[in-house]
């Protein structure tokens, strides 16, 4: 286990990555962290500052200067960011001016913190420097990978709180990153058991949140080295949802545990975004402009695999964009401009993905309406995307009608992979009726077509629902009062199906009905993420556990804002 953690620490590629976990490690072993890493502000050599007991039992101020990997000659004394420079800054500026008044009387330990080891040729220089600068008040310490791994094992992942069966699950999750299904299954087992172990005790909830966070980090770093981020991607979603389940009672409250768990939750969001960006921004989006490239990248002989995977990717792209929109609501002008550009790029990437991978012009199963809804929500928040949205939905409608009428590869209600691979098993009306017994896709598309004023496509859908799909139960999904308790942990059997939606040639009645239902059901606004402003969590839960996206997320985009119900349409858009 220590080997896994050491290897993980040594593999942390960015300095910020070690920064990110250090405060939680310190908190878990009893330190009080009073300064966390910040971007863009001068820290005078200190990345993390905390107060805690030293090995001699005395309470001291610990000032950490963090470096990545092994400490090399370059890290020691070549650049402005070198450790020696940081040590000098700490002694010259930080200690005289930045130590909080309440800690002024405490002794100070300046810690060189890095994930790997001190390289041999640097050792004499480091030792010499320490000997020369050690005083009664200021001493130096070396927190290398081995020490940090020890702290992780003695602290946050110690055996009393992470017993052997759970350690085993975690080890398997890490070892099997190249088989994402297996790795993820173990991670789910680990997270679920950890969450269930808190017994409602607030302090334990904070600790479990930190454990999940550290475990996710370790999984991510291992998977990144293995070149396969599928497991950590899914794991980060499940981690966020489970930690939300732990945190939702705390959010908005101002006590120590609330602040702690909110902090872990925010850190978890950052890791999640980092994983998503590593996967999407570095691996997928650079190739969206290449015709069929990502479709062929699925490396399968089955068109179902291509379809399932690319709709999944589209949903992930949409979620990334929506998260960035969410961040946008909290940013100031300069950062907001940067974010705005990034979001636009992601939206353009999504449309390029659709354009160059035509499998995205028709889903194979109804639950892919979730990914479509997510992308519509995201794209509609970007100015100037209407034509692309309209073109996509128009093509989708044409293909839907063709596939249904010719008994081709039309979207079906089946979710099991075996059924999908065989679909359509028969080219008979009877089979088609069974395979299209219900649909959330059609009302979703019809509602958007109606709002976009595409009467031709709407007419095609309307005619389908009167003829070949007259048996089909057109429906949308609304949350209910039980949803809050079940949504984030993946329990099904909650919510309300808004049924028998009529689709006329104008689609007006459909929009009216959906608006009215959204106004009538108050449960949506009672969902903790909606109440506290963390609305992407609802979307994430829907994407991950395959619940349709509640229409409250998009109805206000489609309806004039005068109709304002309890929807979120305008909130998912960026501020500008």
């Amino acid at each position: 286990m220590k080997l896994i953690i050491r290897d993980y620490l040594a593999s942390l590629k960015e300095r910020e990555e070690l920064d990110a976990i250090l405060p939680d490690l310190l908190s878990e072993i009893g330190f009080t962290v009073y300064s966390r890493p910040g971007r863009g502000t001068t820290q005078y050599g200190v990345d993390v500052a905390a107060v805690g007991e030293d090995e001699d039992g005395e309470r001291k101020v610990f000032l950490f200067s963090v470096k990545q990997g092994d400490l090399t000659r370059r890290d020691w004394n070549v650049t402005e960011q070198s450790l020696r420079q940081s040590f000098d800054d700490i002694q010259d500026v930080y200690i005289p001016t930045r130590i909080p008044k309440r800690y002024e009387n405490l002794k100070i330990v300046i810690c060189a913190c890095f994930g790997g080891d001190v390289q041999e040729q640097v050792r004499p220089m480091l030792t010499g420097y320490i000997n020369a600068h050690t005083t009664d008040r200021v001493s130096f310490a070396e927190w290398n990978g081995d020490k940090l791994a020890g702290l992780v094992l003695q602290g946050i992942l110690r055996e009393e709180i992470l017993p052997k069966p759970l350690r085993s699950r975690f080890q398997k999750a890490v070892a099997m990153v190249d088989e994402p299904d297996v790795s993820f299954a173990h991670f789910v087992g680990l997270v679920t058991q950890l969450r269930e172990s808190t017994g409602g005790i607030q302090k334990l909830k904070v600790r479990v949140a930190r454990q999940i966070y550290i475990c996710l980090w370790i999984l991510f770093v291992w998977a990144r080295d293995a070149g396969n981020l599928e497991s950590p991607y899914r794991a980060s979603e499940i981690a966020l949802l489970n930690v939300w389940e732990l945190a939702r009672g705390f959010v908005g409250k101002n006590n120590k545990n609330s602040r702690a768990i909110t902090s872990v939750f925010h850190a978890l969001i950052r890791v999640h975004i980092m994983i998503v960006e590593n996967l999407l921004v570095r691996k997928i989006l650079p190739h969206v402009g290449k015709r069929h490239a990502l479709s062929m990248g699925v490396e399968s002989r089955s068109s179902v695999d291509v379809n399932l995977k690319l709709f999944d990717v589209l949903g992930r792209i949409a979620m990334l964009g929506l998260w960035l929109n969410w961040f946008g609501q909290k940013l100031e002008n300069e950062e907001e401009a940067e974010r705005h550009g990034k979001v636009r790029e992601i939206a353009e990437g999504g449309f390029k993905l659709i354009h160059n991978n035509p499998t995205l012009l028709l889903p194979r199963c109804d639950h892919q309406a979730i990914d479509i809804a997510l992308f519509l929500c995201f794209a509609s928040s970007i100015e100037g995307c209407e034509a692309d949205i309209s073109g996509w939905l128009q093509e989708l409608t044409t293909r839907l009608a063709l596939a249904i009428r010719t008994h081709g590869k039309y979207p079906c209600v089946f979710g099991d992979y075996r059924d999908l691979v065989d679909h359509p098993r028969e080219r008979s009306d009877e089979y088609r009726s069974e395979a299209t017994s219900g649909s959330t896709l059609i009302p979703l598309v019809a509602a958007w077509l109606s709002a976009l004023g595409d009467s031709n496509s709407l007419e095609t859908i309307s005619e389908l629902t009167r003829t070949e799909l007259s048996h089909c139960t057109l429906q949308l999904w609304l949350v209910d009062e039980v949803t809050e308790e079940k949504l984030y942990v993946g329990e099904h059997g909650h919510g309300v199906a808004l049924c028998d939606l009529a689709i006329s040639n104008s689609g007006k009645e459909l929009l009216d009905t959906v608006s009215e239902a959204c106004r009538a059901k108050e449960s949506f606004s009672m969902l903790s993420p909606v109440r506290t402003g963390y609305w992407p969590i609802v979307l994430l839960a829907c994407r991950h556990y395959r619940h349709p996206i509640p229409p409250q997320f998009w109805i206000n985009v489609l309806r004039p804002l005068a109709d304002d119900g309890e929807g979120l349409g305008s909130e998912i858009a960026p501020k500008s």
Partner: protein, 494 residues
């Protein structure tokens, strides 16, 4: 005769069922008294004997007696005699002409299908045996028979086409084909005869008549008769000269009738290696830009699964160097064909000579294709996109089951599987078996096994965009010209 009758009845539909009649005829020929005895009994209207009358008349070449029967009777005996006149040996052209006159007399004012059919056969058989016989008599008999248009007449029209294909005059062939144009889909036997006849006609100067007839027949049958039913004709057409086949391809694609274009697809289907290269002479046709693009899209729509053939149509179109359509056609070559197929298609396109007028456009398409391929090779491995092992396992099982089903179907269709003993060898690459020889000794027989196989290249779109592919092919197949092509501008086929 009772014995022969019983043997024939017992044989049922066997191909050799009528052999006992031949033996009976030889038996009569061996002693003409036997033949005369049969004739005498037939004069008494003995039911059994009437069935054997034609063989007896033929055995003795009793032309005069046969003529007597033809003119004196209007029952089965007349029919038997007409039939016998077609098989008799004639001592002179004059005697043959007399026989033809007798047949013609019997046929006048008679619309009996059986009589017309037998008159037709006898007249053409006599004409074939004695080319100097009066052709006007033969033509009249054929014309009258053809006017009757009964099912038996149609059957024998088909037979005559293949039996005498090289010796029939163009008007006679036209007459026979006219009769066959009223063929019903249920007349399967006649369709088989016709198929043989058309196959033979394709090798003659009258190939154009055969092709036009098939066009008319398939269109008027409205799907009741399809080209696969004219299997031999189709095979012959597929191996016809490039010029000939090319003419048919252009003609049928421009007509745009689905039954003809589907037929083309069937005709080309048997050809391996991406299909046959066609060289179409389009310059003389003065096609409009719309018609040329229409032709190109039809070629892609119907010949998609023979990409080399479809591409060769597009290359022929590019050779016209019509600036109005070059972009459309080379885009079709790229986005419909090259994006979907490699292998034989790329080899064919790369083989196009630098001097060829289409060379630069083909190069453009090939270069774009290389860029396309290098684009998706450039992404490397993105493991996150791969299906899980579980999914791969299920897909493999499905593919294997599908393969097994295809194999079973192929075995059912195979001619050989019904004829030979089948052994399944589990290990090794040779077999050794012992058999008893004629001397009662056991002899080892060793058979070395060779592998054989066939490959088919599936279009890439079946994986990346099956719905789009289906949509494109349907649109290309279904679209029609607003203004139909002037038929006089279609390839002449001669």
């Amino acid at each position: 005769m009772i014995c022969v009758q019983a043997l024939v009845e017992r044989a049922g539909n066997d191909g050799a069922a009528h052999e006992p009649y031949r033996a009976f005829r030889e038996w009569c020929r061996a002693d003409l008294a036997r033949a005369r005895e049969v004739v005498d009994a037939a004069l008494q209207d003995d039911a059994l004997t009437v069935s054997f009358l034609s063989f007896a008349l033929e055995a003795g070449s009793f032309v005069d007696i046969a003529k007597e029967f033809v003119s004196s009777y209007s029952d089965k005996r007349q029919l038997a005699a007409v039939c016998a006149l077609g098989r008799c040996s004639y001592s002179s052209v004059g005697q043959a002409n007399e026989a033809l006159s007798a047949i013609l007399d019997a046929q006048r004012d008679c619309s009996d299908d059986a009589l017309c059919a037998n008159s037709l056969v006898s007249a053409l058989t006599i004409s074939n045996a004695l080319p100097a016989a009066d052709s006007s008599l033969v033509q009249t008999i054929v014309r009258l028979a053809c006017e009757a248009k009964g099912s038996q007449t149609r059957f024998f029209c088909g037979r005559m086409l293949w039996q005498f294909s090289t010796r029939l005059s163009r008007p006679t062939i036209q007459n026979l084909l006219n009769v066959l144009s009223s063929l019903e889909p249920s007349e399967k036997g006649t369709i088989r005869e016709l198929d043989l006849g058309l196959q033979k006609l394709l090798k003659t100067d009258c190939a154009d008549l055969a092709i036009r007839f098939v066009e008319t027949l398939l269109i008027s049958a409205k799907g009741g008769i399809r080209l696969p039913q004219l299997d031999r004709f189709g095979k012959e057409l597929s191996t016809a000269s490039r010029h000939h086949l090319g003419g048919v391809v252009v003609r049928w694609l421009l007509l745009g009738e689905s039954v003809l274009c589907d037929g083309l697809h069937e005709v080309m289907r048997e050809v391996e290696g991406g299909g046959k290269v066609l060289e179409l002479d389009l310059k003389g046709l003065n096609l409009s830009a719309v018609e040329t693009v229409f032709l190109s899209r039809k070629a892609v729509g119907y010949l998609f699964f023979q990409p080399v053939t479809a591409a060769s149509v597009l290359v022929s179109v590019l050779r016209i160097q019509d600036n109005r359509i070059i972009d459309d056609v080379r885009d079709l070559l790229l986005s419909a064909l090259l994006v979907n197929f490699g292998g034989a298609l790329v080899n064919y396109l790369e083989s196009i000579d630098k001097e060829d007028p289409a060379y630069s456009d083909v190069r453009w398409a090939l270069e774009q294709n290389e860029q396309y391929l290098s684009d998706f090779n450039s992404i490397g491995e993105i493991k996150e996109l791969w299906p899980s092992d579980y999914q791969r396992q299920i897909e493999r099982r499905r593919a294997s089951e599908e393969g097994r089903e295809i194999q079973k179907m192929a075995e059912k269709k195979s001619v050989f599987f019904g004829l030979v003993k089948r052994s399944t060898i589990l290990y090794g690459n040779r077999t050794l078996a012992y058999v008893d020889d004629q001397e009662g000794k056991r002899r080892p027989i060793e058979v070395e096994m060779k592998s054989f196989g066939a490959t088919i290249e599936l279009p890439r779109a079946l994986i990346v965009d099956p719905v789009g592919l289906d949509y494109m092919l349907r649109v290309f197949r279904a679209e029609r010209l607003k203004h139909e092509t002037d038929h006089s501008r279609l390839p002449s086929l001669t």
